[in-house]
Subunit: 294 residues, 2 copies
Amino acid sequence: MLKSFNEIIEIAKGKNAIISLAGAEDIESLKAIKNVQDLGIKAILVGNKPIIEKHLQDLNLELPIEHAENEIEASEKAVKLVSSGKANVLMKGLVKTSTLLKAVLNKEWGLRTGNLLSHIALLETPGINRIIFVTDGGMIIKPDINQKIGIIKNAVSLAHKLGYETPKVALIAAVEVVNPDMPETMEAAIISKMADRGQIKGCKLDGPLGLDNALSIFAAEVKKVKGDVAGNADILVVPDIHSGNFLGKSAVYLANGEIAGIIMGASAPIIIVSRADTSKSKRNSIALAAAISK
Amino acid sequence: MLKSFNEIIEIAKGKNAIISLAGAEDIESLKAIKNVQDLGIKAILVGNKPIIEKHLQDLNLELPIEHAENEIEASEKAVKLVSSGKANVLMKGLVKTSTLLKAVLNKEWGLRTGNLLSHIALLETPGINRIIFVTDGGMIIKPDINQKIGIIKNAVSLAHKLGYETPKVALIAAVEVVNPDMPETMEAAIISKMADRGQIKGCKLDGPLGLDNALSIFAAEVKKVKGDVAGNADILVVPDIHSGNFLGKSAVYLANGEIAGIIMGASAPIIIVSRADTSKSKRNSIALAAAISK
């Protein structure tokens, strides 16, 4: 169980992470990379060389550059740096997410594994004494059951890579009872039974649970929700992108906490930060990807 | 603009709120009522008289009791106390929510107004310098456009009763752009245009907005989202019960903040607290209902 982002940053320090930055003309991304140099994280910059060189000068940075004429070429070259083993983390700069992911999914030189690509946010907030994973609030809009299982597998895989032996997964909904008027609670029940039958491995899983009785032992006791997960969840699987997105952002905007985001399911971790992310959150996201890099 | 629950508690003190408690055999509800006596809030207890008398003795409380044989009778009597003007706030004790709401909606002696009944949560958290309204995370599972407009009207009405002249309403989604793959963003755009055309009054309304650019002026600037609401939202209208429920609970379980809940749309405010609510949250909810009581 991880208690804080500092632990993730410590893990990242021990790795030789090399980021391949697609669209390195983006000065904010370069600042974020400068901001993790103290962790020993390296980077290769892919994009328009003259523009990047100018930014590097402004930031007093020295990093290798691979020239690309446009964002399609930048995405392809950046992905190939990872698939060829010259880098082990992919990061989105000034290229469209869709362009980058198309390159990631290329069958010849991409980073396909056959798994779904999904987003996982990690939260550190004053109300909880541990890191909480939330998925998927960033990528898959309204997952069906098969996609939800893919989402769970990616989150469990991330937890394993971070040292969790048996992460506790809660499929959360507005209520902890199965309500036929709420399809989300029925899907949670179905997936929960699949886990009971050994169809989902490497974790303890339960649902539906409310956010309260997933996170708080007190709330679980008051609501008389039993089991290994209730009150102790590490991973919260949300019904859709909106609910997950609000929960992730609430950690920052309501709780004054911190967040990190990562995309799992490819053969290397993928970092996509938002312009509105704080510099702390960008640092956390890069450290998270570095911490699980091969 | 309200900054904290203390301001709501101050408003409540100036009212002569009288709660009608349906199913007063519930000792937790009685404790919650005892806990607001310092605000001058009174109560009439409806339910099994011998059991209630025993609890009152244990709690060292003295309150008028109206006997009811069962929860249907308790709900009816409690509602009638409000519709007849003997009480001005309805509260759920040990009766089913569905039973109580059936009584509320009775055409002869109920509290119908023709408006939709909807739930509004008020949040006070360390990350935001003002009270944030979230709706509907407690009652309507997946509102259609007409129901969303009813939800907005109830929230705006609550804000007006609390002294807001022109509350700022944000229809939030995972993203602030209209995305045809996300029906929630299109509904937000439609309702936003209805407000532009004067079809929704008494507020400033915009959407879709992300949680970040609805609440934070900095995030709104970075994302270049303009308008009166961005960065300054008072009321967050969420896509469904799950997303609203997580957001409300995140205020408590992630942010160590406080929450109050109320049901609007009837001719009197309705309080439905959960057993898992903290005593502070119960106090806030009762004070909120009292603050807007007639």
